[in-house]
């Protein structure tokens, strides 16, 4: 699609635009949704589109073009131009990156076997059967396969191409109404795909969760399963964008250089993570993606930036464009040195939370939030797991990070409906987490 990109760039220049970014996509996505041990719907999406960003005298505009005929492209550019006339300039706009750049192939991001995969239903059956073998009665979930091609051309000498694949599954297993478990697996190459482990984990948690009793409230040491902690970090990823901070959606506002987490907590965004579900070779301006340390040993080091925001704050881009809004690619919480068993043995009386959903903030700048454990929840007493239900985590995001006391040594890469930005996290033990419940 570079020919389309070239044409758009040429026409945009003729019309007098300054910075221009043309990002074209060709995507093929396939989905199999299942519930009650059977497939509810199978889907296929085919899409060709161009995301276009233009600037003229600090006035910026963007659109997506799906009709790629020359006349529609010319009409779209003229519409943008006429709409921008008379608009006030964005005074804090400082341009896009200067290319060209060199790009390296990132391991485990493309696999022809996924492109050629004819029929993924056998993986769904594998996951369902694994969950049933563990004792589940009903299994639901979703499987995706992805094949994406990305073509980037900018007015600053960037021409870049990336091709990626992926396959992922999310499985939820039920025994009764109140007993369920969840497992996921997201990878970029077929040979690493393990739908059975996702099904098995879902089934196993459901089995352990049988006959839950009403949970307690108060302050508890909590072991967060990677699925649960990934949810919190995925919400937090938005708050690491400088744009979110300026707009009043981040507890990290005015905290650069300050301690915001326990010493053992190091959180990064890794755009070029091998086998990462959010991995790309370059950001929306063509800057090669890289690793950015957000929190290092508990100290807040950096917001995620694009070139314009970086220049505004007199620093370098972190290769996280989003031209308007920088965003994370793959959030990684560095592991610690606890085995899973050691982590559980640290807890004399606490709670193990396997999954959460519906994380909502009372106040974004303060970081106050609550989230609801779903699937198996367990009271942990001297190594024993006792199933409980109906509790809520009601706390503050910064306090949770400050109270991390132990981290597992294995990373789990999580991406599903509730974890939009992919997160790699170990098991995490947090002390004194606020737990509430309905009292009527």
């Amino acid at each position: 699609m570079f020919d389309v990109n070239e044409f758009i760039l040429k026409k945009a220049k003729e019309l007098g635009f300054g910075d221009v970014v043309v990002l074209s996509y060709e995507t093929n996505r396939r989905q199999v949704r299942f519930a009650n041990n059977g497939i509810t719907v199978a889907k296929n999406w085919h899409e060709r589109k161009v995301e276009l960003f233009v600037e003229k005298e600090k006035r910026v505009a963007s659109t997506t073009i799906t009709d790629l005929s020359e006349e529609n492209i010319e009409r779209t550019l003229e519409t943008l131009l006429s709409n921008m006339r008379g608009m006030a300039p964005k005074e804090d706009y400082y341009g896009i990156a200067e290319g060209p750049f060199e790009y390296r192939d990132i391991p485990e991001t493309f696999d022809k076997a996924i492109v050629e995969l004819d029929e993924p239903n056998e993986y769904v059956e594998t996951a369902i059967n694994a969950a049933l073998e563990e004792g589940a009665k009903r299994v639901a979930g979703v499987l995706y396969t992805d094949h994406n091609k990305l073509y980037l051309t900018t007015s600053n000498e960037v021409e870049a191409f990336d091709e990626g694949t992926g396959i992922e599954i999310s499985v939820r297993a039920f025994i009764g109404d109140l007993e369920s478990g969840h497992g996921t697996n997201s990878v970029r190459v077929l040979k690493k795909f393990d739908p059975e482990s996702a099904g098995r984990k879902a089934g196993e948690i459901a089995r352990l969760a049988r006959n839950p009793e009403q949970g307690p409230e108060g302050k508890f040491d909590v072991i967060f399963d990677p699925l649960a902690f990934a949810n919190l970090l995925s919400y937090m990823s938005f708050m690491t964008s400088a744009y979110a901070a300026e707009a009043g959606f981040s507890f990290l506002v005015n905290k650069l250089g300050q301690k915001v987490a326990a010493d053992g907590v190091t959180i990064k965004d890794i755009g070029n993570l091998p086998n990462g579900y959010g991995t790309r070779k370059f950001d929306d301006e063509g800057v090669p993606t890289r690793e950015t340390i957000i929190i290092e040993n508990g100290t807040f080091k950096a917001f995620l930036l694009n070139t314009s925001l970086a220049r505004k704050y007199k620093t370098e881009t972190t290769a996280n464009a989003g031209l308007v809004m920088p965003h994370a690619w793959n959030i990684v919480l560095e592991p610690g040195d606890y085995s899973r068993e050691e982590l559980f043995s640290e807890v004399k009386r606490g709670i193990y939370i396997t999954n959460v959903w519906y994380t909502r903030f009372q106040n974004y700048v303060a970081g106050d939030f609550s989230t609801i454990p779903r699937d198996g929840i367990f009271l942990v007493e001297n190594g024993e797991l006792k199933p409980i239900r109906n509790i809520r985590v009601s706390d503050n995001l910064q306090r949770i990070l400050e109270n991390v006391i132990a981290l597992g040594k294995e990373l789990h890469h999580i991406h599903w409906w509730e974890v939009n930005t992919p997160v790699s996290t170990p098991y995490v033990l947090v002390k004194d987490v606020g737990i509430t419940r309905a009292t009527k």
Partner: protein
């Protein structure tokens, strides 16, 4: 485009589909953002494509494309049929659809002030007006994020059971996040939205800047005068805004039939409601909850759903009794009923699933003064920030943003963050009186995989809850 839609349906039948449905959608509009007084740029929305859904041997397949040529659409149809065939092999029982009366209809929502004729510059003035009015209050609001958006939503739906529905529905919306910082303390009104189906005149008449001003003034007062809310059992009066989120989360969602039958189990969850709970008491007899897509100019407005079924008001709870679930054709068939037109899709590339539209607590006969006059000790919760509910829609929590103490029948000082954490049955059983004036508030309802955020209104009348265990942060 009509020919392409018909072509898709015919082609699917030719390839062996038992049922075929094609939906063309086009959205065109603009959005503008302003961050701390800086215009953030203009986004022009121009999106169109076609989605095809088929049943083959009781299996369901869906495919979409935004390349609107016969070849590309034929390819999508082929994929949908192939996927449906493969899916039918991994099903315990075939999918069947309810019998319905279908129509050939065209409808549109007229705009008095057509936003397509208004320049982005003039639309930006709406955001500037919010900025100016907020600044004029003298309240310190260091973070201000404002967003305007409009779009015309054009749909053409046809299917092999005989529906042909074309509609044009314009939508306008203004959203703000305002952070008030006074006296070393900070309070926030995030994602507050004003939104309608119709022309720009609706937003202008609504005067969103007045809502913004009311919010920042209330937050300032909360900072200076706010005290701890009472704890323990008190009476609670909830506003139409709070009643709205509560009916949406704890009545609308658990009454969605696809959720009741487990189709949404892996994502949005299941429901505490079971099919045999129709006719069961869930609230006091002053509680009636209505779901109505047909309210003129509402944010969740439609007259025909995305399966071509004619919309009507649905009584989910009547006088405290569960009376109706939200259904599409698949789940109406399972229940042995007719569909009540709840199938909605957010775009051409999404399947229609069971959704709400405009959900509200029906009015009673109390004035606001009557609701509070015999409250000895209580709280009036006007607006909320944090809220959530479990995935069976039973354990929920709402935290007040603007809220006041009620003492001996009078409103007193603001209270900070009163927390209502309660079960669905306790919530609706505790209502002893409902106000007579209805107000509605917009929202975006999330569900589906991949996610589908659909426009909805939520609201109703004020309600008084007796003996509620309130919490403090």
């Amino acid at each position: 485009m009509h020919e392409l839609v018909e072509f898709a349906v015919e082609k699917a039948l030719e390839l062996g589909a038992d049922y075929a449905e094609a939906r063309f959608e086009e959205k065109s509009g603009t959005s503008l953002a302003m961050k701390n007084g800086n215009p953030e740029g203009l986004e022009v929305l121009a999106d169109r494509g076609i989605g095809i859904r088929v049943l083959v041997n009781g299996g369901m397949g869906f495919a979409s494309t935004n390349v609107l040529t016969k070849e590309s659409v034929a390819e999508a149809v082929k994929k949908a049929v192939k996927l449906a065939k493969a899916a039918s092999k991994v099903r315990n029982e075939p999918i069947r659809f309810s019998e319905e009366d279908f129509h050939e209809v065209y409808y549109e929502v007229r705009m008095r002030k057509d936003f397509r004729d208004v320049s982005p510059e003039e639309k930006l003035e709406l955001l500037k007006k919010v900025e100016e009015e907020v600044k004029a209050t003298g309240v310190n609001v260091p973070m201000r994020y404002l967003m305007y958006s409009d779009w015309m939503w054009h749909k053409i739906l046809a299917h092999s059971d005989g529906a042909f529905v074309e509609s044009y529905i314009p939508r306008v919306s203004l959203t703000y996040n305002l952070v008030v910082f006074e006296n070393g303390q900070m309070e926030q009104a995030p994602f507050v939205q004003r939104a309608f189906s119709g022309g720009l005149e609706l937003l202008e008449k609504d005067e969103p800047w007045k809502w913004a001003v009311k919010d920042v003034q209330a937050l300032k007062r909360l900072i200076y005068e706010g005290q701890k809310p009472p704890e323990g059992k008190v009476d609670l009066v909830i506003s139409p805004e709070v009643a709205g989120i509560a009916v949406h989360e704890s009545v609308g969602h658990p009454y969605e039939a696809d959720r009741i039958f487990g189709r949404e189990a892996a994502q949005a969850g299941e429901s505490f409601v079971k099919p045999d709970m129709l006719g069961e008491r869930i609230g006091s007899d002053v509680v009636t909850v209505i779901e109505d897509p047909t309210i003129p100019n509402s944010w969740g407005f439609y007259l025909y759903d995305d399966e071509g079924v004619k919309a009507r008001p649905r009584y989910l709870i009547r006088n405290g009794i569960i009376t109706e679930f939200l259904t599409n054709r698949e789940y109406a068939y399972k229940l042995g009923q007719r569909s009540n037109a709840s199938a909605r899709a957010i775009n051409y590339n999404r399947e229609p699933i069971v959704r709400m539209a405009n959900t509200y607590l029906a009015p009673g006969d109390y004035s606001f003064e009557e609701l509070i006059e015999d409250v000895k000790l209580g709280v009036y919760m006007v607006s909320f920030n944090e809220w959530n509910i479990d995935d069976r829609r039973y354990q929920q929590r709402y935290i007040g943003r603007e809220a006041y103490l009620i003492e001996n029948g009078e409103l007193k000082h603001p209270v900070k963050r009163p927390i209502l954490e309660i079960t669905t049955r306790a919530l609706w059983s505790s209502v002893d009186a409902v106000g007579k004036d209805v107000e509605m508030f917009p929202g975006t309802c999330g569900k589906g995989e991949p996610g589908q955020g659909v426009p909805v209104w939520m609201g109703g009348a004020h309600a008084r809850l007796r003996d509620i265990p309130l919490r403090r942060p």
